[in-house]
Symmetry: C2
Subunit: 236 residues, 2 copies
Amino acid sequence: MGKLLLTTADAIGQALVARIAAGEFHQGDRLPAERELSEHYRTTRITLREALGQLEQQGKIYRELRRGWFVAPPRLIYNPLHRSHFHAMVERQGRVAETEVLDARPVTLDHALAQTLAMHPGEEAWRISRLRRIDGRAVLYVEHYLNPIWFPGLLTADLTRSLTELYSQRYGIQYGGVRFTILPGPLPAFAAPALKVAAGSPGLFITRINRDQHNRIIDCDHEYWRYDALCVDVEA
Amino acid sequence: MGKLLLTTADAIGQALVARIAAGEFHQGDRLPAERELSEHYRTTRITLREALGQLEQQGKIYRELRRGWFVAPPRLIYNPLHRSHFHAMVERQGRVAETEVLDARPVTLDHALAQTLAMHPGEEAWRISRLRRIDGRAVLYVEHYLNPIWFPGLLTADLTRSLTELYSQRYGIQYGGVRFTILPGPLPAFAAPALKVAAGSPGLFITRINRDQHNRIIDCDHEYWRYDALCVDVEA
């Protein structure tokens, strides 16, 4: 006793990584509260937060608003050239996928979206907003914009299913060519809460414009990903 | 006088955007100092910084460490499936490219790099570290790792040039297949200073493994981009 330990942020970070590696905390586990950790390591909250911030930067832990710190799962390997059969892709990587439908309704196209879909401004498209989880963690907020002409009655279908399968089984439409853009940037206020991060947190905005087997543009996706949830991987 | 104006961050942001749109500030221009702006808008530094932070999130301005705020240029449209003829790509988009060689030397391969290059750990590869600018702004810190067997004498060549051209003209090597991964995440401490951002600022880490016309792995690139400098665009 009587000895004051001045633990550095580096040392705390290494100790936490060692505890994760030793299996004391598993992927997706919540770490003890900051107060508890700072008492355990006999350090200040400032030093502890520095340590946690370093681990966050290394992708080893992540934070959820008001919930605390969690051990980070591996990133999803994602090839946007392949059709986004989200559930199949996630399950092939040994993980559990979930889709929640947040909203599905007709919307009036603005100029930019009309151009994307090769439709006219003011025309109606269908917008399906969904939240997708991997192993229970929300990683992707996505808005699908569909040209209704190809999909009569789709809005009343079970939209928690793969759209790819629905297109194929119900409408005989297969995906053909795809064009995608990846824009890194802060997550907008309409997507961040569903992903349980603060608006402005770093994210990845991926748009995909999809054509069918006859090279007609059938839909486009606006995907908002947690930056730490995926690794884009393309071979050509 | 005697009237205290309480300007909101939103109002200041709109005023600044209007001044940029009106041509008072051009792309790449430095904005007036924060003190000057807060006096001009009769507001606190806190509110002013909130306004500047909002514009940064919208991609309209960006910050350089210790230098201040600048009007953001458009993002580079980048297709990693095409060979990184950086100068040609930038110039096709009507902009000015520059390459600075930071370092070029033999390095001993660790396990991960050896695997990437289909070489053995402990073998020597060549590492060329370069900084690339668009219109004078540092946007990309890149490390090229080359298998020396294909490129005798390359380290003494003019490495500010396009490697693509050098490979082709001096060694008869053309690029063939490519595999790339895109990993969004904080910029590491060895790359951030050259890009004039704080370590941990959001960035994009792109790795590319390149094969030649005979399908042999010839080099790999580790690219560290400012997140706001590029938009990845791929069509297939």
